[in-house]
Amino acid sequence: MATMNMIQAINSAMVTMMTRDPQVVVFGEDVGYFGGVFRATDGLQKKFGKHRCFDTPIAEGGIVGAAIGMGAYGMRPVVEIQFADYIYPAFDQLTSEAARIRYRSAGDFSVPMVVRTPYGGGIFGGQTHSQSPEGLFTHVVGLKVVIPSTPYDAKGLLISSIEDDDPVIFLEPKRLYTGPFDGRHDVAVKPWSAHPAAEVPEDYYRVPLGQASIVRPGEDVTILAYGTMVHVALAAAAESGVDAEVIDLRSLIPLDVETIMTSVHKTGRCIVVHEATKTSGFGAELAALVQRECFYQLEAPVERVTGWDIPYPHAFEWQYFPGPARVAAAMRQAMEA
């Protein structure tokens, strides 16, 4: 066991898998000698050589296209897209190719690939360093979408993703890299070291895809969240005094429908929280699902607390960010319904 922040845990996952499996290769912009702009691949080139971890041209479509070919060859590429905002040039390779190759070839070929990419706001990155595009990928059949909220989960989920034989979009909440940020931007941020989930085994372990985690059991309202918003939801629960059950989805595809349903059946109320813009975000899918499966249990409409339907505005980071106050207000409102 070691105490790790989320970057270190992600790095440790790659070290673990590169050690165990010579087919695991890591590449992307600035990930080689430099170790990545967020340091996630720090030391990998030194440790495993420049043929296992190397820099690429600035061409996200090329990175993913090459990874697909390599995956089909038999490697397990783990590629980094420097910011999730820059994943769109790879959109065609991801949706038309990576997601489809197993199905269209009837299993002849497959793409065991992980696309790691930092997402979300909270770092004053403005509209091109803050986006949360997970919703788009959940609509693409053939892609898995995974988002950790703690160092422990980050390592375990990344290992499961690397071992998965299908393409996984692994979105890393960059605001959580160094500490469990709960949205209270005016309060000094705690480092991960104070958090129990910063205790991370140095060796191999898995957190399976498709299993949500109940991070705070409660009776009154179910909060569905992932990534940074898990911590925001916990802060909101504390702030509101509502006995919320906070569920960290951990993977959106596959989705742990059962845990969600069991909880909402119990609480009869549900709030979905994400940082992405509202319209057609993954919150829409969750709300649609919950109202369908728990219709007769629901005592209030499923509420969405999300980013506004605007690009992430640089100066208004905290006015955009769906912080604990907004989530708490939604909780209280749900209780009144």
């Binding site: 296209g65 390779q93 070929f109």
Partner: protein
């Protein structure tokens, strides 16, 4: 056009009077339907005229080859010049057979589509030498990333034609379980990568595969094929960039058949510089080859393959050919190009040219050719009968619709189990 209030809204005035108005050039082909065909602008190197550089030549030192045309067969069918390959008569005859089989297969499937037996088909008529000669020049273990017009590669590798027909018919024999449109074949066993309906994507994938092979210390190389029109996609650029940077063991083929559906190759920029020339700017060697000359295609491919196998990296080959038929069964070329353009193509028919060469070589005769023609026609006809016994498109002889809910992921998807139940399968 300058008076619109809308224009002024976004534009700032200040137009220097000193210049003449700008104009935009919209490229046009030499001839449209009803106009006389004219190939006089084509610059064709003479057979045997282009030099054959060393395998380890510096790419820039051979940049002129991107502007020439490697040709081996002369008008009499003799093989001339430095690019004459070492090639056995058996290989030539087998290549001839592949081309003839491909053409017959194409014709049968085309007619099957017209008879409503399949939803769609794409012929490679006139371009058969590309697949046949390149497959012959590569090893069976090399990985091929073809396009929808690369059926000849599979045929050359001995992939069962009955399976191809099964795929085209989406019938009980379809190895792809009815999931793909006709001609989007896939065969791991034959090292033939699953064909995509999305143009160009396979080009960079082939580079990635080759990178994987090289990273693994393997000896297998990759090859990929795209059309002249498709060179405009981003994947083309990614492929050239990655292949250059990592010196990946891959052959990047551009099949310039002069047309991309209704757009002539000038719409992709082919009039401004040959497609092969693109590669030079990335520091890659490029060969431009008469795509209807089996020997030239074979020789160029061997050169590129040897270069790749010797760790000198990637080569681009532009295969200069002509799409003799419609783009696909959904297309009618008489709407956009002169009907007789194909028959006037100065580089002829690849089958006729190889036949002539074999005759000149003393290995072949009109009679033998007619007999082979009869044989392959009969063979395809028999296979077709066998294939159609297992269903044609639309007659409900398909794999079970249950299967359509399987294989999105390796593990069963719980959503799809539910949806399958809902669908009643």
């Amino acid at each position: 056009m300058l008076h619109s209030p809308r224009l002024d809204r976004q534009a700032v005035a200040l137009r220097p009077a000193r210049n003449a108005p700008l104009t935009l050039r919209i490229p046009e082909p030499v001839a449209r339907p009803g106009e006389p065909v004219n190939f006089s602008k084509l610059r064709l190197s003479a057979p045997g005229a282009v030099r054959r550089p060393a395998l380890d030549a510096e790419p820039r030192s051979i940049h002129d080859l991107a502007y020439e045309l490697i040709r081996v067969l002369d008008d009499e069918g003799r093989a001339v010049g430095p690019w004459v390959p070492e090639i056995s008569s058996a290989t030539l005859l087998s290549g001839l057979r592949t081309m003839m089989l491909t053409r017959v297969f194409d014709e049968r499937m085309y007619r099957a589509q017209r008879q409503g037996k399949c939803s769609f088909y794409v012929r490679s008529t006139g371009e058969e030498a590309v697949s046949a000669a390149q497959a012959a020049a590569l090893d069976a273990a090399d990985m091929l990333f073809g396009s929808y017009r690369s059926q000849g590669l599979l045929i050359a590798r001995g992939y069962p034609i009955v399976k191809m027909m099964g795929q085209v018919y989406s019938n009980l024999l379809d190895p792809l379980l009815g999931r793909q449109m006709p001609v989007m074949y896939s065969s791991r066993e034959h090292n033939y990568f699953t064909v995509s309906g999305n143009l160009g994507t396979q080009f960079i994938q082939a580079v990635g595969w080759a990178m994987g092979s090289a990273l693994s210390g393997d000896t297998r190389i990759a090859a990929s094929w795209i059309g002249d029109g498709t060179t405009a996609e981003g994947d083309f650029h990614y492929a050239l960039t990655f292949a250059s940077v990592y010196r990946a063991p891959v052959i990047l083929n551009v099949v310039n058949n002069q047309w991309a559906i209704s757009s002539f190759q000038g719409i992709a920029g082919g009039d401004e510089a040959p497609f092969a020339a693109r590669a030079v700017g990335y520091g890659l060697p490029a060969l431009r080859v008469d795509g209807n000359d089996f020997l030239a295609v074979y020789a160029a491919t061997k050169w590129a393959a040897q270069r790749a196998r010797s760790n000198h990296g990637a080569t681009m080959i532009e295969l200069f050919t002509y799409r003799a038929e419609a783009h696909s069964t959904s297309d009618d070329p008489s709407r956009y190009r002169p009907a007789d353009e194909g028959s006037k193509w100065p580089l002829g028919d690849p089958i006729a040219r190889l036949k002539q060469h074999l005759i000149v070589r003393g290995e072949w005769s009109e009679e033998k050719h007619a007999a082979l023609q009869e044989e392959v026609t009969q063979e395809v006809r028999n296979i077709q009968r066998e294939a159609e016994a297992q269903g044609v498109h639309g007659n409900n002889q398909t794999p079970s619709p249950r299967t359509m809910f399987e294989g999105v992921f390796k593990e069963p998807d719980p959503r799809l189990l539910k949806q399958r139940q809902e669908a009643g399968f």
